[in-house]
């Protein structure tokens, strides 16, 4: 639960503070957000399964964001940035969908 609280604090702080994201970070933002969504849905499903763990959630969240940004960076360097981004979005999107389906089964029993 401490991780969820920390996340909440971070979100509120992010809303209150004026964000000034440096320009060189801009290309990684969309993919990082998708990765973060994936981690959040995974955490929610784990919570409903009764096996939520703060440490695993936080580590998966951080690593998701970093790996996604890294893949985009690598793709940019190799000249396949947009294709790799598409691949990452597809894989994360599938995971988000199946996690959302599992959450739905938990909530609606259907």
């Amino acid at each position: 639960m401490i991780a969820a609280l920390g996340l909440l604090v971070g979100i509120i702080a992010g809303l209150l503070l004026e964000p000034t994201v440096p320009l060189w970070l801009q290309p990684y933002l969309p993919i990082a957000v998708v990765a973060a969504l994936d981690a959040v849905f995974g955490g929610l499903r784990a919570f409903l399964d009764g096996i939520f763990d703060d440490r695993v959630f936080t580590v998966s969240f951080l690593s998701n964001i970093v790996v996604a940004a890294l893949i985009v960076y690598l793709g940019d360097q190799l000249g396949v940035g947009s294709q790799l981004s598409t691949g990452v979005v597809v894989v994360l999107g599938i995971r988000i969908f199946s996690n959302a389906a599992a959450i739905r089964r938990h909530v609606f029993k259907a």
């Binding site: 920390g6 971070g10 979100i11 933002l29 939520f52 440490r55 936080t58």
Partner: protein
């Protein structure tokens, strides 16, 4: 394929299952781990929120440039309005001084003439009965020309009122005996231009916003019959029938037309100056005319040099020589 199967069938991070097993085994996480986890989670939330907020802002560069342009336009418009206002005040002072000096000179005829000329030239605001012609773009024409991008629209829409249409109506009104004409509250003088730039119509370089209201002061009945008999009446009818431009003509018992924005004094002469005075007027323009006409008449030689054109340059001796 194993990758896709992995993604499809086991989307939950296996770490959660492992952690659950550890908890069942009775392993409790250390206190420092808990603090670290909370901090890391806060950082995650912060970063994600910043990313989302940043992404939701539409193109900061373009927005900033647009803002800057808007404020610049507003500032310049205010400056222009202030200058116009100052101009009006000065012109009123000028008119007052003029009428004072005329009253002092005791020439009522001159004062009347001046008044009439000022009204005709657009120098003063006038009011009186008149005719009001309204032109409006056809309903099929999209947004106003100010909003659209002239380069993209191509200007091919037939139902749009053009500068030509306004020109023809205005000329028709002048021909029908209008004493003063204004378009959308902008008084026309004899030097006014009605032009279009892009798809906006400009009068004296000020843009107009549709509908275009052309007001003319004069005898309403005469204006109306004159307009109908002239080229402008059939032209308006054709606009209505062929391009569904909305037009309306109505008489008005009292119209008030403002003074023209800029009246420039191009030439002036004192009142008692008549034909002979022009000879002594400007030295450069008229100086050569007497010299060439005077040269053949006197005998060649010395008399030419003592004539009235002694100050003229070397052109006159060369004509005298043969």
């Amino acid at each position: 394929m194993t990758l896709l199967a992995e993604v499809m069938q086991r989307p939950l991070d296996p770490g959660y299952a492992l952690a659950a097993q550890r908890r069942e085994a009775g392993v409790r996480p250390a206190r420092t781990t808990t603090v670290l986890v909370a901090l890391a989670a806060a950082v995650c939330g912060l970063v994600t929120t910043w990313a989302v907020v940043e992404l939701r802002q539409p193109q900061p560069g373009g927005v900033a440039a647009r803002k800057a342009l808007e404020t610049e336009i507003q500032r310049r418009t205010q400056q222009a309005d202030a200058a116009q206002h100052a101009n009006d005040v000065l012109r009123a002072q000028l008119a007052a001084a003029q009428s004072r000096s005329l009253a002092g000179a005791g020439d009522p005829d001159l004062a009347r003439r001046l008044e009439r000329l000022a009204a005709l030239s657009g120098e003063v605001a006038v009011s009186g009965p008149g005719l009001e012609v309204t032109l409006q773009d056809a309903p099929s024409v999209g947004p106003s020309p100010v909003a659209g991008d002239p380069r993209q629209d191509g200007g091919g829409e037939l139902g749009r009122v053009l500068d030509r249409d306004v020109q023809i109506v205005v000329n028709g009104l002048w021909a029908a005996g209008a004493e003063a004409v204004a378009v959308n509250g902008q008084r026309l003088s004899s030097l006014s231009a009605i032009r279009s730039a892009g798809q906006a119509i400009f009068v004296d370089r000020r843009p107009l916003v549709p509908p275009y209201v052309i007001q003319a002061i004069g005898d309403p009945a005469r204006l109306q019959t004159g307009l109908a008999r002239d080229m402008a009446g059939p032209y308006l009818q054709a606009l209505r029938d062929n391009y569904s431009v909305q037009t309306s003509i109505q008489t008005s018992p009292r119209l008030v037309l403002p003074a023209a924005a800029s009246v420039i004094l191009l030439s002036a002469r004192t009142q008692d100056q008549t034909a002979p005075a022009s000879a002594s007027g400007s030295p450069s323009g008229t100086g050569s005319v007497p010299s060439s006409s005077a040269a053949p008449q006197p005998a060649p030689g010395s008399p030419a040099r003592t004539g009235p054109t002694a100050g003229t340059p070397a052109s006159s001796p060369s004509e005298v020589a043969p």
